[in-house]
Symmetry: C2
Amino acid sequence: MSAHIAPFPQVDHQRAVFADGLALDCGMTIAPMAVAYRTYGTLNAARSNAVLVCHALTGDQYVAEPHPLTGKPGWWETILGPGKPLDTDRYFLICANVLGGCMGSTGPREEMTDSAGRGLGRPWGTDFPSITIRDMVRAQKRLVDHLGISRLLAVVGGSMGGMQALEWAATFPGSVFAAAPIATAAHHSAQNIAFNEVGRAAIQSDPAWKAGRYWEEGRVPAQGLSVARMVAHITYLSEQALTRKFGRRLRGASALTFLEDVFEVESYLRHQGSTFVRRFDANSYLTITRAMDYFDLAQEHGGDLAAAFRGTRTRFFVASFSSDWLFPTTESRALVRALNAAAANVSFVEIESDKGHDAFLLEEPVFHRALGGFLAGCADRLGV
Amino acid sequence: MSAHIAPFPQVDHQRAVFADGLALDCGMTIAPMAVAYRTYGTLNAARSNAVLVCHALTGDQYVAEPHPLTGKPGWWETILGPGKPLDTDRYFLICANVLGGCMGSTGPREEMTDSAGRGLGRPWGTDFPSITIRDMVRAQKRLVDHLGISRLLAVVGGSMGGMQALEWAATFPGSVFAAAPIATAAHHSAQNIAFNEVGRAAIQSDPAWKAGRYWEEGRVPAQGLSVARMVAHITYLSEQALTRKFGRRLRGASALTFLEDVFEVESYLRHQGSTFVRRFDANSYLTITRAMDYFDLAQEHGGDLAAAFRGTRTRFFVASFSSDWLFPTTESRALVRALNAAAANVSFVEIESDKGHDAFLLEEPVFHRALGGFLAGCADRLGV
């Protein structure tokens, strides 16, 4: 399992490896199964202060430290650290790379194994099984058990991380004192599926993708993955944020051309695309976007979203952002209605922000105070 | 100019050819210049009943008859025909393929000419000059003059067609009795530029594009153009329209997979992409999207949109659709405010529709009645 295969960068991730593997929703068992993770802060003696942070589509376990491939700050340093809402002085924070990811957890980039768990000397690639958000959560549950934690103080996540927080509460209700699904929804909408499909089509259209076997020539489908990132990036921003950041500003040149990037927004997007391919695996992108598309918590419970939470004792904190059009407030409200119908303990806040979906990652003081207060209240209740 | 070059389909379009060519905003003169067009109805003796219909990004002059390449009905047969709002029994309707297009007007697919107007035996490709919406309108003006019409009863268009209607009113105010810009804006927003840029990146990433010289190998960049069409198509629909059409319905198979289209919406989008490449030229797509991105009517008038219309006697009919997020109602309202500031005669209607930007092309009885009434009122006024 530890063999990395060219052309992927070698990073020595902290991992827990489960030799018996994991039974997946698709019916297949993947073994062994590795979960790469990072922790921040200290687990208390009662093992009652653990908070699991779940990452979004292109995130990873490097929440609050420089990224090993890009050197950039952790993706949620705005909110996680000493004295911050996700307070490393008080909580023991865990973040695992999702199953299907490309930062050390078992996924398309890792070495393929046969049914006896023997390495086959090549990456999984597109032979990696289709996985679900619930599979990701089951993998995290193995890690949490492995760390000797029987109940999490909280599961917190935005976007696809929020889907995981919901799935945790629905699947392992006794293991989750509190759940904070942020900027998310109980199912992926038709429009979001459509945007994901454009990204997949872009990757699969790139001749370098080679039906997923791009490692054979040591060349990644950079163009396709870059286009996928570009279109996704637009959906993460609001029209207002794009206009504020770039408006219609031209990049110096006033000459009319259609071959070069003349608007700043174009240059920015192309940059986003080209840097993304240095850290992310195209087959992981296919795997994880598909898992998001499959996510439909109501459908997992006979078409009744409230049934997913009936009888739950988990406390919920639901937050949305007013300019988020990828996971709009209407989706959070539908979730809150179902939680209310299940007589769950739920608080909901819509944060006024013009930053779009990305707002959950950025400096949003009202959001930070609300989430920090919710967690602190839960910790007080448990005597943490 | 009439030489078509493989691999493009040969269609004998009706064209007007202007040997002296057209001076473009970029400073270059393109000569000769051809404008392919279709007309419907009969020009009256006073030549006062001509209505110019301007098409959108991927439209063409085949408004109300089967498309010569696809055999599909004309793109605006919902509204144009005998007894319809664009009434062929009363008006003489003209629609021209835009400059830069690929259905017979001078554009990247047509034979390149040198400064003396001599054919060079190869298509323009990416040597085609950058053009603007104003260049398109100037080309149309040449056609309208050629047809012996000194004043149009109206210029009507949706989306990019609406940009042309606005540009007509601003550039040739004495030649336009009425203008109906529909589902459009006085400039292209940062978000719209960003979506166009994704489409261009997809085309340019396709190795078959070959820096625009794809005709040399007789193979078009179908994959890239298809991805461009897919992402654009999402922006033409509303979330509600996508959900109503497809929801999260699976295509038969329940097996988990990420290699095939499992959701109906995916299959639909891939189909949209693959049929589009049979009728549209990739270099035209690059040229025309760039012209849309450049469009900024206020900037053409010293930063003051009202200045574009000051003193105008043209009557305006502005319409938007409530679920259109590509050209939202806020953009139409900004346009109406500028027209009011210019003391123009303007009526504005926001049509309640959940069909998104595409609504302007579809059966929308309230919209049809409003536009038909506006045109009939103008015609009555002129004694047509």
